[in-house]
């Protein structure tokens, strides 16, 4: 279309009514002139006029076709079709509401899931320049068949990896911590990120205020304490003032603010955005003298993450290859310092230039994989919703067949008819999409809070990526739902339909609808099987005997914040603090502990009579004060727990787990046995003194929830590290500690010397995290599977109910011929349940084929569990039975007299 033509069309469109009138006049003229000429040829005036009209033909059609020439016909048609669709939908509010709600659920599910996995896995970090070229480095080892990819490694390893320069254009390191920021009472724990000055060069935007770091500010030995604060921290906590040069206390160090990061800048941190950025080398100053001295000269401590930018034209594989070579050299260097570094042949070390997003990387846990599955599930829910809506549209199309036929007869083009159907479907889908986004924003909150790290920004109204996906879902839904009915409508056989009554010509379409019901049913069955598998995994995980009761326990981490103590004073301060905590009202007992749950430690262990204890499995230790067993409600089965009397200088004692006792001293009395533990002052078990077993405790799940043997031993703090351990487990009298968190936090903070403060969390949270992936799978599969079931059953109900309406006459005749209620019911119910039998069969076969692929995500649950499959099948059939029973009840009332009279 030339610009001139477009202008002409637009001009004509403005005058379209006038033009239409002119055309009518012109045609009238034409008829008149033609009639006049025919009259000249000898026809009577009436004959001539009739002949002229016949010749000019279908004026409506002619008008329609001429109209194509003016305006932008497509646009005009669309507007007309939209108006038509609106009118149609307003006339059938029940249909409209059902379709919109169905689509809203389907689109809402997909919007929620996309918004979540996009944030976790795909969306580039804000302001990151050319994100496709940037990678996070993961160091991967495979030991005894289990692969471990770690994005966090020692600083020295990072500097070793800098040798890889051929494929890499830029490199930066960063490290995330939580430190108290601010002074005195105003100080709160905040996310602080240590970065190399090169880190900021990965991003596009200059500092909003001031500058970023100079290379000299990150130089050895300890950098310069300068800080860049986040835009949010600056505007909310610092009132957006000119803060350059101001002092900011981070942890125990006074920093000078030199810059404010641009708005939305989060570095490459997921979840809650960081508040303060400082030079990487200044971080160890907050972690104690030991880390400050060691971080540049040994490989003992994983704390640095690394991002790299590829050189142009270099593949990620090439980067990984070069990094791997540097990694292997670095391991050799580490082995020179510490011969215990395992040989490369045993662990197959590989460096991977992987996704910047941790959840998409090789280190991602089962949660990520569950999420991808559930996203697929959301897609299936949408398919089911579409099948259901297509079904409704078929029904609507059949109801409107006469209207459609009449319109076809009056000259409406079939293409136009299809376009109208599509417009209507698109309108419905967009309404459904809008409702779906609302569902996702408000209703998806529960799902989101479970999936996204706390503090992740979430507002769909400004989230164009997600809105785009919702829109695409809606458009796809429109196509899927409208095409079938539209073409069926366009294929309508004019003559046959006009002649036929309402009862004929429906069998074929009911079959199409039955196919849709079968598809929905089968997909629902698949989802329900998935729901069953995850629910049972979750139940199994929750029913693992733990050997402790975490629900009333609060984990308290005391941060002394640089309060100067020598070890003698530290012993006193920590003892006093524990005593103070125990006197807080509502506290039943409290203990200082070394290892957190599911973060256990091991030490060298030697037992006489056993060559190598390590071959029996992993032996974890816990160091704690005397009340530990009371706090955790772990029963001491034999002997005794330690007491205040088990102090430094007294004979060394230990409590061991039942499983450990049986493994080390099978058939013998473990009490009084002797262990040599390489720990604390004597790191080698060979020279360690004898630690005597004084008690046997029940087995506890502290390492993981799996079937690994629960080898665990407990040592009294005062005999190992009397001046250490700042983590306390506090048991409350309330059965659920969550309501007591804040009170305890305040009380402990008040009890602490200097600027110290406490960080608390419910211990149950730590336990729950262990079964998080199954909880996720269970919740989401049940939600979506339930949705699918409801939608499918409503669809079935619609088909059966419609068919009963159609067959009322036939049923009436049957009753007149002597059919009893029972026969009628059976007739209807069988018709409803038969396709569901097929659906259950198909669905179970699909589930059986697909389920083994999620086996690794399940817990003590076979993916092909016959009982579960049978249960799902029965559920589906019962639901189908109920859905058919209601129309059947109506069918029973078929009145033979009505049927007979109508013929």
């Amino acid at each position: 279309m030339t610009p001139r033509e477009l202008a002409g069309r637009i001009a004509a469109w403005w005058r379209r009514n006038e033009l239409a009138r002119e055309l009518d006049d012109e045609l009238e003229d034409h008829v008149r002139l033609l009639a006049r000429d025919l009259e000249h040829d000898g026809m009577s005036p009436a004959e001539a006029l009739a002949a002229a009209r016949r010749q000019v033909g279908n004026v409506t059609r002619l008008r329609e076709e001429s109209r194509d020439a003016w305006g932008i016909p497509a646009l005009e048609t669309v507007i007309q079709d939209l108006r038509y669709a609106f009118r149609g939908l307003r006339r059938s509010p029940a249909f409209t509401a059902t379709v919109i709600i169905t689509l809203a659920l389907g689109i809402g599910a997909n919007t929620t899931m996309f918004a979540v996995i996009d944030r976790l896995m795909f969306r580039p970090f804000p302001l990151l320049r050319a994100p496709a070229e940037v990678h996070r480095v993961y160091l991967q080892t495979t030991y005894r068949g289990s692969r471990n990819a770690n994005p966090v490694f020692p600083f020295l390893r990072y500097t070793d990896l800098l040798d890889a320069t051929h494929t890499i254009a830029a490199v930066a390191a960063h490290t995330e911590w939580r430190f108290a920021v601010g002074d005195g009472d105003a100080s709160t724990p905040r996310k602080v990120v240590g970065v190399t000055p090169s880190f900021f060069e990965f991003f596009d935007t200059p500092a909003a205020l001031g500058r970023y770091f100079f290379a000299t500010e990150d130089a050895a030995p300890a950098g310069v304490p300068v800080a860049v604060v986040s835009h949010r921290f600056w505007s909310t906590e610092l009132q957006g003032a000119n803060v350059i040069g101001q002092r900011l206390k981070v942890g125990v160090v006074d920093y000078t603010i030199v810059g404010v990061a641009p708005r939305d800048f989060v570095g490459v941190t997921d979840g809650a955005p960081p508040d303060v950025f400082v030079p990487l080398s200044t971080i160890p100053a907050n972690l104690g003298a030991w880390s400050q001295e060691s971080f540049r000269r040994d490989y003992s401590w994983d704390w640095v993450q690394m991002i790299v930018r590829r050189k142009p034209g270099v593949s990620a594989e090439a980067v990984s290859d070069e990094l791997t070579r540097a990694y292997i050299q670095s391991r050799a260097a580490a082995r020179a310092l510490n011969p215990r570094v395992l040989p490369d042949s045993l662990v197959q070390p590989v460096a991977v230039a992987g996704p910047v997003k941790l959840a998409a990387g090789p280190d991602a846990g089962a949660e990520s994989r569950v999420l991808l599955w559930v996203t697929g599930v959301a897609g299936i829910v949408l398919l089911i919703a579409c099948a259901n809506v297509a079904n409704l549209m078929f029904a609507r199309m059949i109801r409107r067949r006469r209207e459609i036929t009449v319109r076809l007869a009056l000259g409406v083009g079939r293409r136009r008819l299809v376009a109208q159907f599509l417009t209507e479907a698109l309108l419905l889908a967009m309404l459904g999409g809008g409702a779906g986004v609302t569902v996702a924003q408000w209703g998806g909150a529960a799902i989101r809070s479970m999936l996204l790290p706390e503090g992740t920004p979430f507002n769909l109204a400004t989230d164009w990526r997600t809105l785009g996906v919702s829109f695409a879902c809606a458009a796809t839904a429109a196509l899927l739902t409208a095409l079938g009915p539209a073409f069926a409508a366009a294929r309508t056989d004019l003559a046959a339909t006009l002649k036929a009554g309402a009862r004929e010509g429906t069998v074929q379409r009911t079959r199409t609808r039955e196919v849709l019901v079968i598809a929905q049913g089968a997909l629902s069955v698949v989802l329900l099987v998935g729901a069953g598998l995850f629910v049972r995994s979750f139940i199994h995980a929750r029913s693992v005997p733990l050997g402790y009761d975490a629900r009333p326990v609060i984990e308290v981490v005391a941060d002394f914040r640089g309060y100067a103590m020598d070890s003698a004073k530290a012993v006193v301060v920590r003892r006093t603090l524990l005593a103070d905590v125990q006197s807080i009202p509502g506290v039943v007992a409290a203990a200082r502990v070394n290892s957190r749950l599911f973060g256990t430690n091991t030490a060298q262990l030697r037992v006489e009579g056993i060559d190598s204890v390590e071959t029996l499995g992993r032996f974890n230790f816990q160091i704690a004060t005397q009340d530990y067993f009371r706090v955790m409600q772990t029963r001491v089965l034999r002997g005794r727990a330690f007491t205040d009397a088990d102090r430094d200088g007294q004979p060394l004692v230990a409590v061991v787990s039942d499983a450990m006792a049986r493994a080390l001293w099978p058939g013998r009395d473990p009490l009084g046995q002797c262990m040599h533990i390489g720990l604390g002052a004597t790191p080698s078990a060979a020279t360690a003194a004898c630690t005597t077993v004084i008690g046997v405790a029940e087995n506890t799940a502290q390492q993981n929830l799996t079937d690994d043997p629960r080898f665990m031993y407990y040592l009294p703090v005062d005999q190992v590290v009397p001046h250490q351990l700042s983590t306390m487990y506090v048991r409350m009298s309330q059965p659920d500690a969550r309501g007591e968190l804040e009170r305890v936090r305040r009380a402990v903070t008040r009890a602490m010397p200097g600027d110290g403060f406490a960080v608390v969390r419910p211990l149950q949270e730590v336990v729950d995290n262990q079964s998080q992936s199954w909880r996720l799978g269970a919740t989401l599969f049940v939600t979506f599977g339930g949705l699918a079931l409801v939608v499918a059953i409503v669809g079935l109900y619609g088909v059966v109910s419609y068919s009963v309406t159609q067959r009322m006459h036939e049923l009436g005749v049957r009753v007149a011929l002597g059919a009893r209620s029972r026969d009628v019911v059976r007739l209807v119910v069988v018709q409803g349940v038969r396709p569901v039998f097929l659906a259950v069969g198909i669905g179970l076969v699909i589930a059986w084929a697909v389920a083994p692929r999620v086996q690794s995500l399940l817990f003590r649950q076979s993916a092909v569990d016959a009982a579960l499959y049978a249960g799902v099948g029965v559920t589906m059939l019962v639901a189908a039975l109920l859905a058919s029973a209601i129309p059947a009840a109506r069918a029973v009332r078929a009145d033979p007299s009505v049927a007979l009279r109508s013929d």
Binding site: E5, L23, E26, D29, D37, L62, W70
Partner: protein, 111 residues
């Protein structure tokens, strides 16, 4: 009535443009003119004529105005614009060429 021969695709515009090059005319006149000139062999259907005129109008080849007919009635007269004249020359050329080529091919296949 014997069926009128099918028009080659695209020739309708050419015929209308040619007719209008003789002077302003109303729609009925255009149809009659073509009918007469073809010795009653071609009859332009109203269903094609008016949409074609509208199309050409939008493209700017044809302009229209309301004029009084010799019999004293108001009627819509179409006339060729400068662009229409250029289009006519172009289409005439294309048509002649394609007829010549088609004819040559047909001759070739017969010999």
């Amino acid at each position: 009535m014997p069926e009128s021969p099918r028009l080659l695709a695209g020739t309708l515009d050419l015929l209308i443009l040619k007719t209008l090059s003789l002077g302003p005319m109303h729609g009925y006149g255009v149809a009659q003119h073509i009918h007469r000139l073809s010795n009653d062999a071609l009859r332009i259907e109203e269903g094609s004529l008016y949409p074609a005129l509208r199309r050409m109008q939008v493209k700017g080849w044809v302009a229209s105005e309301t004029k009084r007919t010799p019999t004293g009635r108001e009627a819509r007269y179409y006339r060729l614009t400068a662009a229409g004249r250029r289009q006519l020359e172009e289409e005439e050329e294309v048509f002649k060429q394609s007829v010549a080529i088609t004819a040559r091919v047909l001759r070739g296949s017969e010999s």
